[in-house]
């Protein structure tokens, strides 16, 4: 049975940040404070409320422009949970929608008791801000936007929860967020431990579509030995230009046009992950035989078939 708590979420600028050192490595933590979040959580079973400080001690200006990789690490990959947040009691907490109807921070302690026991239900009744969907040949599945869970369904079993669904590109959903959700879900299922998990949509100004999401996670029982990350995942779609103020979109004129004159190149396809690689890419060499296909043709033709370039070799 799920345990849901109520929480008061306050967005504010913070002067300082209490950062866990459990998964700290040799990388310094950033000092900026432009995007910060304080969440006051009422812990279940009578535990006292504890303030937690997001590792959002970064500035949007500090985040590099998207350059072919779905995410960038923040603060040396160290999440910003406070010591007082460490709990082995599962909970999930979603921020109220703001005055523009936008989602805020979604925060959870993921445990097996929070995970879904039934198949996913319909979420089509929810219309998140900026939902102006469109179809493009260069998008896997055609549709540019997904109703993108902040706390993934496989983690908390939330269906049509409007406080947990944002307008996200297919690329954000599948290439960006899903691998991190898989990592957390499989760790929790395997160990039956808990993972503190926070997803913060980052909107610039009054934009209705988020620039991306900050994803933070820390395994509790082993103090981050197995799960520890803090990343910003871009809400972009290669080949498509998005107006983040409204959600409108168009094909990227700057992207190479699909043309019969386009140069044919040899690629290696992974028909399972729908990624294409340069033949010299080490990832290409490790593709299972049943999922591997050698291909000669244009890059654009591949993209129009729903394939996406490998993030390592960037073909």
């Amino acid at each position: 049975m799920k345990l849901r708590i109520t929480a008061l979420t306050v967005l504010t600028a913070l002067l300082s940040c209490l950062l866990l050192s459990a998964c700290g490595g040799d990388t310094a933590v950033g000092n900026g404070t432009s995007v910060s979040t304080t969440t006051v959580v009422t812990l279940p079973e009578g535990q006292p409320s504890q303030p937690s400080t997001s590792a959002g001690s970064y500035s949007l200006e500090d985040i590099p422009a998207y350059s072919g990789t779905p995410y960038v690490e923040l603060s040396g990959n160290v999440p910003g949970f406070a010591d007082g947040d460490m709990t082995t009691n599962s909970f999930e907490d979603y921020s109220p929608l703001d005055s523009l109807g936008r989602c805020g921070v979604a925060y959870a302690c993921i445990g097996v008791d929070l995970m879904p026991t039934e198949d996913r239900g319909s979420i089509s009744s929810v219309t998140p801000t900026g939902w102006q969907n469109a179809q493009y040949d260069c998008v896997n599945g055609k549709y540019l936007y997904n109703r993108c869970h902040l706390i993934g369904f496989q983690l908390a079993g939330e269906n049509a929860n409007k406080q947990n669904l944002i307008t996200g590109t297919r690329y954000l959903n599948v290439d960006g967020m899903l691998p991190f959700e898989n990592l957390v879900a499989d760790y929790v299922k395997e160990t039956e431990n808990h993972v503190l998990y926070r997803v913060t949509p980052v909107f610039e100004g009054d934009n209705l579509v988020a620039d991306g999401v900050q994803m933070e996670a820390l395994s509790v029982e082993d103090s981050g030995e197995d799960v520890c990350f803090n990343v910003f995942v871009y809400n972009v779609q290669p080949g498509v230009v998005i107006d983040y103020a409204t959600g409108a979109s168009r094909l990227d004129d700057a992207a190479p046009a699909v043309s019969g004159d386009a140069e044919s190149v040899s690629y290696v396809l992974n028909t399972s992950s729908k990624k294409f690689h340069d033949p010299s890419c080490s990832n290409a060499g490790s593709i299972s035989g049943k999922n591997r296909e050698d291909y000669t043709g244009t890059r654009d033709a591949l993209i129009s078939q729903g394939y996406e370039p490998c993030g390592q070799c960037k073909p």
């Binding site: 998964c23 490595g25 898989n182 992950s273 080490s282 060499g285």
Partner: protein
């Protein structure tokens, strides 16, 4: 010469932020069956996931890739295998059949290897794990 054992995701990833991408109790059991009767090398990081349930044939040393000899196995989780590619006589690749974040990849191209055995099994927390055994 040695036989390397790796676990990789759909992109050939092995590690993210100095941590293994995933783990599975039944995979560990299968790995120990593969290594039965042979010396199995790994480092302390890998040995910890077995939680002490290791046979006497297991040797945990930080320089295990340099110390492993012919016919011996190396379970490699957080080391780049590329510098040791010439020392490999065999490979056992476990595929999670999942996509995880990764910043360390399995970099040994498999084109020049012969797949001699392939098995699929359900893990304790993974729906389908594929094991591929390669020889040169």
């Amino acid at each position: 010469m040695m036989i390397a054992i790796v676990c990789i995701d759909d992109s050939g990833g092995m590690l993210f932020n100095r941590r293994r991408q995933s783990q599975d109790r039944l995979l560990r059991e299968d790995l120990l069956r593969e290594a039965a009767g042979k010396t199995l090398w790994m480092n302390a990081y890998s040995a910890r996931q077995f939680k002490g349930a290791l046979p006497e044939t297991v040797r945990a040393e930080e320089d295990f890739l340099d110390r492993a000899g012919s016919g011996e196995l190396c379970f490699v989780e957080n080391r780049d295998l590329a510098p040791y590619a010439g020392k490999l006589e065999g490979l056992i690749v476990y595929r999670w059949n999942r996509q995880y974040p990764a910043d360390l990849f399995f970099t040994v191209p498999l084109e020049n290897w012969t797949l001699v055995r392939q098995e699929e099994f359900a893990g304790s927390s993974h729906e389908k794990i594929t094991k591929e055994v390669y020889s040169k």
